[in-house]
């Protein structure tokens, strides 16, 4: 039991989350207000969904920098379809399909062309956002029906995150795809020699990441009541920060969706604490940067301690 606790990679993140949440609950009455908690829940749901997808890719030893651009592209497709008269559920399904396709393109470039993931997804980060800007003419899609906007509000984003994170957590542990995913990241050549179809596992991981980013985009457009090409600009770094804080190893093979979800919650709660203390948005980076370093260092020390045993 004690060893299990010591080896849990998510432990520092969970401790940090509980401490931050308790401190905020006790010291900041404005944090407890239902309105504020709802906003925290919304943001955490969206960031968490993206972090879950990113975790799948990072578990394979890759990285997906294009998530925020894929999010904006899918959300704009959804907005455009709705404003062209498509019923919103159909538009939402089309947008998720586009996210899946965007992720699959990343995966295809990584596996078939054997290009480094960081460069492929850096290129698609530029490409997806550029295409979205040009095809939408930088126009916002803001005449969205109330029924659609409702899915981004209240508890829905959080509920979506809880469902997705639970399904993925169980799936990674129990399904064949999940075990192949972790094995591919742990030691690719060993995985290949054991008969695992590593390229197809990788393509599916990138496709899932794109799909989850698109889902987050649907919720974000609904919550803002507006889909635009600038949606979630720069969020890819918050997503990676959430994953790192959650104890997922960037070289692959170790970590959990649960950890990444906790990491996303920590980032959102810290941002909210800074907001409530009146710190300007542009200065949040000092805290985010510090937390990333602290999390990475603690992971580092724990893993060297584990090596020594």
């Amino acid at each position: 039991m004690r060893r299990a606790l010591r080896d849990a990679r998510e432990l520092p993140a969970v401790v940090l989350l509980v401490a931050a949440a308790l401190w905020l609950l006790l010291s900041k009455p404005s944090f407890r207000s239902p309105g504020n908690l709802a906003v925290v829940g919304q943001d955490a749901g969206m960031l968490g969904l993206m972090a879950c997808g990113e975790t799948l890719v990072i578990l394979t030893g890759g990285i997906d920098l294009s998530v925020a651009s894929a999010l904006a592209m899918s959300a704009c497709l959804c907005g455009a379809l709705i404003m062209a008269g498509t019923p919103w559920p159909a538009a939402a399904i089309a947008a998720i399909g586009l996210g899946l396709l965007a992720g699959w393109v990343n995966g295809a470039l990584v596996t078939w062309r054997r290009l480094p993931p960081i460069l492929v997804t850096l290129a698609t980060l530029l490409l997806f956002r550029g295409i979205t800007n040009i095809l939408t003419g930088a126009a916002p899609y803001n005449l969205l029906p109330e029924a659609y906007k409702a899915i981004g509000r209240g508890g829905w984003p959080m509920l979506a995150l809880v469902v997705v994170a639970s399904v993925l957590s169980i799936g990674i542990g129990r399904s064949r795809f999940g075990r192949h995913l972790v094995a591919s990241g742990g030691n690719e050549s060993a995985a290949r020699l054991s008969g695992i179809g590593v390229p197809s596992v990788l393509r599916r991981a990138y496709a899932l990441s794109g799909m989850l980013a698109a889902s987050a985009g649907l919720l974000m457009a609904a919550a803002n009541g507006n889909a635009q090409w600038t949606l979630a600009d720069g969020w890819e770094l918050d997503v990676i920060a959430a994953v790192v804080i959650g104890g997922v190893r960037l070289t692959g093979g170790q970590g959990s969706v649960f950890g990444a979800t906790v990491g996303a919650l920590i980032i959102v709660i810290l941002r909210n604490a800074l907001f409530l203390s009146g710190v300007p948005t542009e200065q949040y980076g000092l805290v985010t940067g510090g937390v990333i370093v602290a999390a990475a260092l603690s992971e580092r020390w724990r893993s060297t301690a584990a090596d020594r045993r």
């Binding site: 460069l119 850096l122 290129a123 490409l127 985010t288 940067g289 580092r300």
Partner: protein
């Protein structure tokens, strides 16, 4: 025995194609004035990219340079505007600030063994926030005349800001190809284990490239302030992406162990031509993103093709 194509072939062809296209369709590209604009506009990217080449040669990556540039620009401008420091003193402080940021990256990566993307991501976030904190979100424009004259000046048709850029490229090329330190950088990128076993001081070598990358970000900040005649806390946003693109476009593999400064210089030039060309066609900067994204994919593809050919030949 086939002669091997040098790694710069791809980017040289692309640069030449870009130039031929632009020169044949847009008369303004045949003038010296446009050439000088392209050179001047590429100065900061050239400086950042030369440092980035050293980092990538070790197999690392530095995504913090754009933010460090922003922080250094504010430090530089505030010292002159509010502290009434002289230009050289403020410039020295600016370079020191950049080197310090790079040193923090280097310590986290070399001594504490954090993945370079994580450590520089943290500095990316923190340095930008620092720039906003120091400037209070305001731009600083009451700068000394001499600095602005430097930003707009030229000597023999070559814009003055291009000179430090060329100097940075040449210095990095000499370090990489002509010094023992440069060979240790490449050795580290090739194999950390082998480098350590050969008795190289791996930590110092690795920390050193990040210090240089930070120092060069400070130098780029001085140029940004001089050329813009103002310092904004947002200075240098997205330049890390452009710098990485230039290096990869130039034929330096991201896996480390190999590097070409000449290629990086040509990569920067290609990006400068594309950017100015897209603007000359009256398209917004978003088209630059699109073209750069495509150029990046094409160049990685070319690099893969080249390295496969080499491995079958040897």
């Amino acid at each position: 025995m086939k002669t091997r194509l040098p790694p710069e072939t791809g980017v040289a062809v692309v640069a030449l194609l870009c130039y031929t296209w632009l020169a044949s369709f847009l008369p303004s590209f045949r003038t010296g004035a446009t050439a000088s604009v392209v050179l001047s506009n590429s100065a900061e990217i050239a400086i950042l990219a030369s440092g980035m080449t050293l980092v990538i040669a070790t197999g690392g990556i530095d995504v913090s340079v754009g933010s460090v540039l922003g922080l250094c620009a504010i430090v530089f401008a505030r010292l002159m505007a509010d502290g009434s420091w002289s230009i050289p003193a403020a410039a020295a402080a600016c370079l020191a600030a950049g080197a310090t940021c790079g040193w923090i990256n280097g310590i986290l990566i070399a001594r504490y063994r954090l993945p370079s993307i994580v450590a520089t991501l943290a500095i990316f976030a923190a340095a930008r926030a620092g720039a906003y904190l120091l400037s209070g979100g305001e731009s600083i424009s009451s700068l000394p005349e001499g600095l602005i004259r430097f930003g707009y000046g030229s000597i023999g048709g070559i814009p003055l800001p291009a000179l430090p850029a060329i100097a940075a490229l040449v210095a990095c090329a000499i370090i990489l190809k002509r010094t023992a330190y440069g060979r240790q950088i490449l050795a580290l990128g090739g194999s950390r284990e082998a480098s350590f076993l050969s008795g190289h001081r791996v930590q110092q070598v690795e920390c050193g490239v990040f210090v240089m990358s930070g120092l060069l970000a400070g130098l780029a900040a001085i140029l940004t302030v001089a050329r813009g005649a103002t310092a904004i806390p947002d200075a240098g946003r997205f330049t890390e992406m452009t710098a990485i693109t230039a290096v990869v476009l130039g034929g330096t593999p991201v896996s480390g162990g190999n590097a070409t400064i000449l290629g990086t210089g040509l990569g920067v030039l290609t990006i400068g031509l594309i950017t100015n060309g897209v603007r000359a066609y009256g398209r917004g900067d978003i088209w630059v993103l699109l073209v750069l994204g495509l150029a990046l994919l094409v160049s990685v593809e070319v690099d893969r093709w080249r390295s496969r050919e080499r491995s079958t030949l040897s």
